[in-house]
């Protein structure tokens, strides 16, 4: 097994980049070690030295899970190194999801992949897949206030990016309406009109939360991420954006 990961500079770099505390560092080392133990064949796409940001998911997603995820990844991609949008059509359970297209899009969103401020990737490799999955890991409350806040922000950012489809940093009314329409699209009896008015109402509410008293000629142009955080203030998302299995050691999940 070649030493790919654990050299001092990489660790220091990672530490500097992530401001990991000591415990996190130990974990990182441990998981890196596990990672080295893995058969290269199972993770073909990870031959490059992982960039610092990818340590985040290594931090939490254990090697077992990586293996399972990789198996699933191969299943989805049809043994190709990358997944394209069309591959998601093969997931039959997704069909019924009203915001299906938005979610699939989020998988290819450069912002979520931490690859750029905007735009969509054509295809994602396993590393990217893991990056997306890492958004759904549970918040480790033992890591301290800052870390929790950080990962909370990450999760909300994922949601925010899904709303903000033109990546201008604002959820405009049009975008919001779009989302609400899709959310309600499961019910054919609710017309677009009502979806619109709901979005309008929500936008109004957001404006009143974020801006407070509006001047008559003031215009609320859309929900920025700061406003978005404000809306979420005081609401626990601890249980709302987690996939349980990403927390467990082993689950036989792939068929």
């Amino acid at each position: 097994m070649s030493v790919r990961v654990v050299n001092d500079t990489a660790v220091l770099e990672a530490q500097a980049a992530l401001q990991l505390d000591f415990r996190g560092l130990l974990r990182f080392l441990y998981l890196s070690f596990l990672y080295c133990q893995m058969d290269v064949a199972t993770v073909p796409s990870l031959e490059v030295l992982p960039s610092p940001q990818n340590h985040i998911e290594l931090n939490v997603v254990s090697s077992d899970q990586i293996e399972q995820l990789h198996r699933r990844f191969k299943q989805l991609s049809g043994d190709q190194p990358t997944i394209r949008k069309e591959n998601f059509n093969n997931v039959p359970d997704l069909e019924l999801n009203p915001i299906r297209s938005k979610i699939v899009r989020a998988f290819f969103d450069n912002r979520n992949l931490r690859k750029g401020p905007s735009g969509l990737a054509d295809e994602i490799n396993f590393e990217d897949f893991l990056t997306i999955m890492s958004y759904f890991r549970p918040i480790d409350t033992t890591l301290g206030e800052e870390q929790v806040e950080l990962s909370r922000k990450e999760k909300l950012k994922f949601l925010f990016h899904m709303y903000d489809s033109d990546s201008d940093g604002r959820i405009t009314l049009e975008e919001y309406r779009n989302v609400v329409e899709e959310l309600l699209s499961g019910n054919p009896h609710i017309e677009k009109e009502s979806a619109r008015s709901i979005a309008d109402g929500a936008m109004m509410e957001a404006a009143s939360v974020c801006v407070g008293q509006m001047e008559p000629d003031q215009v609320y142009e859309g929900i920025t991420f700061e406003d978005f955080l404000k809306i979420w203030q005081g609401i626990d998302i601890e249980t709302k954006m987690h996939i349980r299995f990403l927390n467990m050691e082993t689950i036989a999940l792939c068929h």
Partner: protein, 898 residues
């Protein structure tokens, strides 16, 4: 403090004493045929129900007395006070009647007092939270209760073997296990009573409370199994009996749940067909839930589980099916019954404890039991939590565990079960009764008293009561979908996957079967929240007499009286906590002159918040039908008006969003105009706005569906329901008249004027650009519009009529004006005329009157007469505020009462 309660309490005793004599005397004196008595005393005929009613009355009065002092109730839980009151009352009964009376009978308790409480908690259980934590709840309920029962029983037996329990307590291992099984169960009534006042966070609450509800099955099984073992005698118990005992656990719990679900299904299905007999809807809910309870009890299944599941299962469909009023009725009746039952239970518990003939004291047993239940509860919680935390996303921390251990209150269920024991089979019954009483009192009083300070001291995460916001609801839905999708992608069939599947199934089959078609159609959670928020806004708006303005810090001299009222009202609090409706109204602070301001305010109030009473043609007062009466229509209408306002305010403040590409700043320019810079092009931003927004259609959604539903309702009713569109229809009529007359001066009503930048409009920017009343009523535009514009309008009329021609399909579209005449008008208005719009501002009294009287509201006339002088004086900067205000109030109140 207790004087009133005492007095009432004496009544039945005195009555009983008084009636004993006449009945005894009447037997020997019965020979002469009784003549026609003017007055007869028939106490014993009404005795039973009378006593019941009196007891409830006493309990309720006691509750009122307790709550007179906020200090006491904030420190001491109500249940404690009630138990103490019961002790006092019991003592008095004992002293007067020389024997203990009015005890908590197990039969009464299980058949009448317990079901309402359980139904209430099941029906109003936050189902999402419950199912999210179902794993933990089930673990604590099943494993925890089993653990508590066995360890307590065995430990007590060990205590006896060690010689710490007096030898006169004749009990074997089985007896102690029986006792352990009845004392181990956490009591839903006690938990609910105490935890409702403590306000711990939702997760903690649902775990403790859910456990107390679901452990009933375990308790029932354990109790029955142990009881039958005791009755058989330990020698005769065979191995198969143990297996049977284990099997019966499944039968009792699953059977109880199944009974509950079957009745929930029946209930939902029945309410689907109550369209014509709305009046019995609440009754059905109670009857079928009670039937579920009795059926389960009859089959010796877990009755509590049955009612819980029934309430939990039916709620969604029942709420969708029954009318709004029935919903309120169900809610209040359920809460009332539950609170009554709870009060009576605690009071009777106190009274029952007085009866010393029933119990025998043994210090060793009592102290040992107290120690063991506390110790094993804590130990059990810690062990189970440790296991659960391996699986939970949000682990339960130490503080949670402390509260959970400490919140294991025992209550009336244990007491009723111990009373039910057979003294011949269980010789130590009296000792058990005494111990149970002590345990119940200890947990309810001592733990109940201390849990609040404890929670404060430990800084347990409290529940923050924020109302559901639309954004939150939307985001949560999105999250749910995302999670389900990710689980799909990953191929992991976890919780979200199954919840998603269930929702699909529910939507496809169950809801379709169990919900009315109209309800099913518009059924959506997001929509529900939206609707509720709007209703809330509307109601609070109406409750304040439409004077939202006064609460937003605007110093309007004309509204002092209303202001003081509004400040004390609850809805004002609601409003201040950030409902969207008042957002726009603060804008009015920038008003220039008093005159304009008053006009604007008047306009706004009159057309925004006022319900216009209409003559009713149908006077129905049947018993079997509650006609859809004024209140409901009023609610609906106000709701729609309010909706419109919300949307407008939103649009006017934020419309830029929609025109970011084409027209970046129409609002800004519109405001410049107010400052005297007449810019004809400025308002060009309006027409696209009119086109672009069709939001009012949303309002109609409910109305339409309602009308489908009530399509059989009479024509008059329907006409009444069209209140919102009336304005529009009037407009078109008037427009036609205008066309006929062809002269501007004779133009019958100011309403026909399309919205040029009027004073009111400029003062109330959120009104602008909308086909709103304010725009129509604003009068001065009659003067500025050139005659040749009339033709343009007429064209617009025809287009409007074409819009109107499909009647009733989309009523509110009528309220919107066609855009092009606006544009034409705006562009052609001569500069010099529009430059000083105020100079031409006049509200021709006759016109106003005509317009008003045409708008069918006879009740509005006095108000109009009030308006006339106000409108007449142009330079009246401060119009007599008192009169205007008082009139407005009266007017409003009248509307409200109708």
């Amino acid at each position: 403090m207790l004087g009133a309660a005492m007095l009432l309490f004496w009544l039945p005793l005195v009555g009983a004493g008084a009636t004993d004599k006449p009945t005894q005397e009447s037997v020997p004196l019965g020979e002469p045929p009784p003549g026609l008595a003017l007055f007869r005393w028939q106490w014993h005929e009404v005795e039973a129900p009378y006593l019941v009613a009196l007891w409830i009355l006493v309990a309720s009065l006691a509750k009122i007395v307790f709550h007179l002092s906020r200090k006491v109730t904030s420190l001491v839980p109500e249940s404690c006070l009630l138990i103490l009151l019961g002790l006092v009352l019991g003592g008095i009964v004992l002293a007067v009647a020389k024997k203990a009376e009015y005890q908590l009978e197990p039969g009464t308790f299980f058949l009448f007092l317990l079901p309402p409480i359980v139904l209430d908690s099941g029906y109003f259980m936050p189902s999402r939270l419950f199912f999210d934590n179902l794993g933990a709840i089930l673990t604590y309920a099943v494993v925890g209760t089993l653990w508590n029962a066995f360890t307590t029983g065995v430990a007590l037996w060990g205590l006896q073997q060690a010689g710490l329990v007096a030898p006169r307590v004749q009990a074997g291992l089985l007896d102690f296990l029986l006792f352990g099984s009845l004392i181990s169960a956490v009591d839903p009534v006690a938990v609910l009573a105490v935890f409702e006042e403590v306000h711990v966070n939702e997760t903690l609450f649902i775990i403790v409370f859910g456990e107390s509800l679901l452990n009933d099955a375990v308790t029932v099984v354990l109790y029955k199994v142990c009881n039958s073992f005791v009755e058989m005698g330990s020698a005769n118990v065979q191995a198969t009996d143990y297996l049977k005992g284990i099997a019966s656990l499944f039968v009792v719990s699953l059977g109880g749940a199944a009974v509950g679900l079957v009745f929930a299904f029946l209930l939902a299905l029945t309410t689907r067909f109550t369209k014509r007999v709305r009046i019995i809807e609440p009754l059905l809910v109670f009857l079928l839930a009670y039937a579920a309870y009795l059926t389960a009890e009859m089959a010796s299944l877990s009755a509590i589980l049955a009612v819980t599941m029934c309430g939990l299962g039916c709620k969604k469909y029942v709420e969708a099916n029954i009318s709004h009023k029935s919903r309120t009725a169900v809610k209040y009746t359920m809460k009332t019954l539950a609170s009554c039952a709870e009060t009576v239970i605690f009071m009777l518990l106190g009274i029952s404890a007085v009866d010393s003939s029933k119990w025998a004291w043994d210090s060793g047993l009592v102290l040992g039991t107290l120690f063991f239940i506390l110790f094993f509860r804590a130990l059990g919680v810690v062990l189970q939590t440790w296991v659960l935390n391996q699986f939970r996303l949000v682990p339960l921390d130490k503080i949670d565990q402390v509260v959970m251990s400490y919140g294991g209150l025992r209550g009336a269920v244990a007491f009723a079960l111990v009373i039910l024991l057979d003294r011949t089979k269980v010789p130590a019954k009296d000792y058990f009764v005494a111990t149970t009483i002590v345990v119940v009192f200890f947990t309810v009083i001592v733990q109940g008293l201390t849990i609040k300070p404890l929670v404060k001291w430990l800084r347990v995460k409290r529940s923050d009561h924020h109302k559901p916001t639309l954004n939150q609801e939307l985001h949560e839905h999105t999250f749910d979908h995302i999670l389900a999708a990710v689980e799909d992608v990953v191929g992991h069939h976890g919780y979200h996957y199954w919840r998603d599947r269930w929702e699909q199934f529910d939507k496809k089959y169950l809801s379709q079967l169990l919900m009315r078609r109209s309800a099913y159609r518009i059924r959506d959670q997001i929509w529900d929240v939206y609707y509720r928020l709007n209703i809330r806004d509307a109601i609070s708006f109406v409750d304040q007499g439409g004077h939202v303005l006064s609460s937003t810090g605007l110093t309007l001299p004309s509204m002092p009286s209303r202001n003081s009222v509004a400040e004390t009202s609850v809805t004002n609090l609601l409003r201040e906590s950030g409902s969207g409706a008042c957002l726009d109204l603060q804008v009015i602070d920038t008003v220039r002159s008093g005159r304009d301001r008053e006009d604007a305010v008047m306009h706004h109030l009159l057309c925004g918040g006022l319900y216009k009473p209409r003559r009713r043609y149908k006077a129905s007062c049947g018993r079997h039908f509650i006609s859809e009466d004024a209140q409901e229509r009023q609610d609906k209408e106000v709701f729609q008006q309010n909706m419109k306002r919300r949307l407008e305010s939103f649009k006017s403040t934020k419309h830029n969003i929609c025109f970011t590409k084409s027209k970046p700043r129409p609002r800004k320019t519109g405001h410049k105009k107010k400052d005297g810079v007449a810019n004809p092009e400025a308002t060009n931003g309006k027409p696209p706005r009119d086109l672009g927004f069709q939001d009012t259609g949303a309002v109609i959604l409910t109305v339409e569906s309602e009308e489908e539903e009530e399509s059989d309702s009479s024509e008059t009713e329907k006409e009444d329901d069209e209140g919102i569109i009336f304005v529009a229809r009037a407009t078109s009529e008037v427009l036609q008249e205008g066309k006929v007359s062809g002269s501007l001066e004779v133009c019958p009503s100011p309403r026909i004027i399309p919205p040029s930048p009027t004073c009111a409009e400029k003062e109330l920017p959120w009104k602008s650009g909308q086909g709103d009343l304010a725009v129509y009523v604003s009068s001065e535009t009659t003067k500025i519009v050139p005659v040749d514009m009339q033709t343009g309008w007429n064209q617009s009329i025809s287009s409007l009529e074409s819009l109107a021609s499909p009647p009733c399909t989309q009523p509110p579209t009528l309220t919107r004006l066609p855009p092009h005449p606006l544009g034409m008008e705006e562009t052609q208005v001569p500069l010099d005329m529009s430059s000083d719009p105020r100079s031409s501002f006049a509200f021709p009294p006759s016109l106003a009157k005509a317009g008003r009287s045409r708008s069918e509201s006879s009740a509005d006339i006095p108000q109009q007469q009030e308006l006339q002088p106000l409108m007449g004086h142009k330079d009246h900067t401060h119009l007599s505020p008192g009169t205007a205000n008082s009139h407005w109030c009266i007017q409003f109140n009248r509307g409200g009462r109708l």
